[in-house]
Each structure stands twice: as structure tokens, then as C-alpha cells.
């Protein structure tokens, strides 16, 4: 009993933890070894371990972590896959993407394409083409109006809402607005009209010939000028309905018309300039006997007889 600490392999451990029974403790305290154990225990509890600088260590760890990411390997893998996928898809989209040139109201732009062709884009128009590999398949898409000066280097196609124009080195003007009009100034072009009902129709234009699309029927005509008037900063009209004239004005100036009871089917012959709104309004409206005033919001032009 007195030598419990020798025979019982957990006895001293339980004594330290204060888990000896009263009887066990009593017997132990009377043993000769007790005082020695007690002093060893007491003195041991006066010892201190090393000083640990937690904050310094935290800084060290943070610094080490800055050179590595905080995501797990699996997450990192998925993350890499996701990034790669996004890159591939974006690259694909980018390679097949279109380059688009757009002009605002009253703005004009000159575009030089990779094959040296030059395109003058009139106001309120846009032209787009494939960003890459365009030279293998020279196609551009037009909305609005533009003047084309095409270099003789393989086939060149202009898509419009009314049909495709095939070109082989030439100069021509395409107007694809309410009115559709192609004028050929140089060389030869072929227009293939889109037609959902009939078979497509093909028209060939040479220098000085033009086509007008009027209610889905093509009118073939001739013209005399060497260059489209819009390029010279003027819009010219010969017996055109007033509605067309007003429409053209809204492309070149940031305005809208309040037509009221004005008959816009009446025909107009004349021209207006592109660089002076007041001037343009006077030359188009006064000969037609129309008075106009600007509303408070000066973008609205109110017409009256």
C-alpha cells in the first residue's frame, strides 16, 4: 500500500491530477518518498518555458503566404481550368469577332481596309467586317450609306439589307436607308437582290448607272455626277418626296421633326448643306412653303404651313 507509487503505474500521475482517493492519498503522504515527490512537483511548477513572440511569427507566416495563393490545389486546378476555358472561348470569340465602324448623326468617317480599299461612311451608318482572316473572304456589311473605292484584289462583297453587291475593283455608292440606291462611279459591280418571294435577281451596274429600289421593284437609271454629293458636304435631291429629305436631314443633324399636318409626299428638288443646320432648314423648307420653329428642346423642329 505504501509503495503504491512503484507498483501502480498510474498512481503518481493520478496524484498530480488530484485524483487519488482519500485513503490512497493518506497512505501516500505518510510514505518516506512523499516529501521528495512533493518538492519535485512544486519546483517543477516554478519553471517557465521559452518566450514565444506570436505576433512576429504571424507576420512571418503572412509574408510566406503572400508568395503562394490561398486556394487549395483542387480549387487551383479548377480555377486554372476555368481561366483556360475562358481564355480559349474569348480568343475564339475574338478571332471570329467583327470590327464595326459606326458614325453618329452628322458624323462622317473614312475607313481604309486591309486590302487598301477605302470606304467613306456617311452619317448615321455602320460598316462591319470580320476582324481576322478578312482578306480570305472580303465581305463587309453595310447599314446606312457609304461610298466604296475598292482595290482590284480578288472578289469583294458588300452585304446590305436588300441584297449583296459583288465587286471587282471599282467605285460606287450604296445607300441603304428608307430608300435603297446604288450608284456606280467606276468599273463594274453586280447587285444580287434578296427576295424572299421570287428567286434572287441580279443586276449589273457600270459607270454612270444606278439602281433605285422602290417598293420592291428595281428602277435602273443613269446619272451624271462624278462623286456622290454627300461626300462634298451637300445632299442633292431631284423630285424626291419631302419625307426622304427630312429623313436625310435627321441623319446629318441631331434633330427630329414634328410634322403635324405637313404633306410629306410632295416632291422636292434642291439641296442642303451638311455644316449649317439653319441654312439647311431654310433651303429645304422655305421653297416648300413650310415655316418651322425650334421647340424648347432645340432638337425638335416643329413644322407648320
Amino acid at each position: 500500500m505504501a509503495k503504491n507509487y512503484i507498483h501502480d503505474d498510474t498512481f503518481l500521475g493520478r496524484w498530480i491530477a488530484g485524483e487519488l482517493s482519500k485513503d490512497e492519498l493518506k497512505a501516500f503522504e505518510q510514505s518516506e518518498a512523499f516529501k521528495q515527490f512533493e518538492i519535485i512537483n512544486r519546483e517543477s511548477q516554478l519553471l517557465v518555458g521559452p518566450n514565444v513572440d506570436t505576433e512576429a511569427a504571424l507576420l512571418i507566416v503572412k509574408q510566406k503566404l503572400q508568395t503562394s495563393s490561398k486556394t487549395s490545389k483542387v480549387k487551383q486546378l479548377w480555377y486554372s481550368i476555368a481561366v483556360a476555358a475562358v481564355l480559349i472561348i474569348s480568343l475564339g470569340l475574338y478571332l471570329t469577332s467583327n470590327k464595326t465602324y459606326t458614325t453618329a448623326i452628322g458624323e462622317k468617317q473614312t475607313i481604309t481596309l486591309a486590302d487598301g480599299s477605302v470606304i467613306n461612311l456617311n452619317a448615321n451608318s455602320s460598316l462591319s467586317h470580320k476582324r481576322f482572316f478578312w482578306l480570305n473572304n472580303k465581305t463587309v456589311k453595310l447599314t446606312g450609306e457609304a461610298y466604296f473605292k475598292i482595290k482590284k484584289k480578288g472578289p469583294f462583297v458588300v452585304n446590305t439589307s436588300k441584297g449583296d453587291i459583288n465587286v471587282l475593283g471599282t467605285e460606287f455608292n450604296v445607300k441603304d436607308r428608307t430608300q435603297f440606291e446604288i450608284k456606280c462611279y467606276e468599273g463594274k459591280i453586280r447587285f444580287t437582290k434578296l427576295n424572299n418571294i421570287d428567286t434572287t435577281k441580279v443586276f449589273t451596274l457600270t459607270k454612270g448607272s444606278q439602281i433605285l429600289l422602290d417598293h420592291n421593284t428595281i428602277k435602273e437609271q443613269t446619272f451624271k455626277e462624278d462623286t456622290p454629293d454627300w461626300k462634298t458636304g451637300i445632299s442633292k435631291f431631284t423630285d424626291q418626296p419631302l419625307s426622304i429629305v427630312l429623313e436625310e436631314l435627321t441623319y446629318l443633324y441631331p434633330i427630329t421633326f414634328n410634322i403635324n399636318t405637313i404633306d410629306t409626299k410632295r416632291l422636292f428638288s434642291g439641296s442642303f448643306t451638311h455644316n449649317n443646320l439653319e441654312n439647311a432648314l431654310q433651303t429645304t423648307l422655305i421653297p416648300m412653303g413650310i415655316t418651322y420653329q425650334k421647340a424648347k428642346d432645340s432638337h425638335v423642329i416643329i413644322l407648320s404651313k
Binding site: 507509487y5 518538492i39 518555458g49
Partner: protein, 173 residues
Amino acid sequence: MLEKEPSVCEERNYNKLFRKFYEPATKYIYYKCGDFQQAEDIVQNVFIKLWKLCNTITYSKAKSYIYTACNNLFLNHVAHQKVKLKHQKTLTDNIDYESPDFIIEIDEFREKLKAAINTLSVKEREVFLLSRVEKKTYKEIAEITGLTVKAIERRMSIALRELRDILGKEIKV
């Protein structure tokens, strides 16, 4: 009680864990290996791992992860050096040692005690120091070391017996 556990990935929580467990873990490893620089390296590496694996370790499991990882890393560094211990500066010297019982001076005894602790095997030394110096309960020591409380009691008993074998002759009864 569906309160969501704090995420270890949140720096605030990570810092909390660091401030709570860095010191005790470092001391624990130091008591095992006796090389303070090595102990700090091991525990810092464990905390770096903890941050990298923060998605996979819940806040409540962090403590056991830290100690388990420390133990695993320690297995690769089995250098067993002497632990340097100090006596508290403010010693309550009014302890009644009944002077005649001591053959030698108390200071000398204390040096011998530290030396004797260093003669213990690592298994006993770490348990003894965690209990007597760090004042941890057997239950806490069991969590840290991965042993059972019974095993702690045994190691503690062995440690005390060995210390008495060495120091007993210094203490007259």
C-alpha cells in the same frame, strides 16, 4: 443551433486561431525536440498549410489539425536536444522546505532539476512539461499528443519516479 461555423479562410478567424494556438503548439514542439528555431519553423509551416487548406478544415477542427500536423512534421525531425528552462523570476521563496531537509542549496537543486528533466525520454518529458510548466490538464494533453488520458497518467508516473531516482538523494527525508 444551426449557427454557421466561422470560416478558417476568413483572415479574422485565421488570426484568432493563430494567436490562440501558435504559442502553445510551439512550446509543445520545443519540449519534444529542444530546438526552439526548429519548433517555430514546424509550427509556422503548419499554419501556412492551415491557410492553404482553409476550405477543408472547419473552425472547430482546427485545433486538432494543428497539433496533429505538428506531430506529423515533428516525426521528420527527431533530433532530441536539451530543453532550456528558466525558473520564474518572482520565486515564492517562503516555501517551507525545512532547510535541514536539503543537503544542497535550493539554487543548485533547481539546476539539477532542469538537468534531470532533460534526462527523461521525449515521451515523458513532453507530458511532464505540458502538465507542470504549461499547467495543462491530462485531457488537454491527451488532445495535443493524441494519446489517452491513461497513457498520460502512466507517462507522468514514470517521469516523477525517474526524477525522484535522480534527485531523491538531494532531498533528505
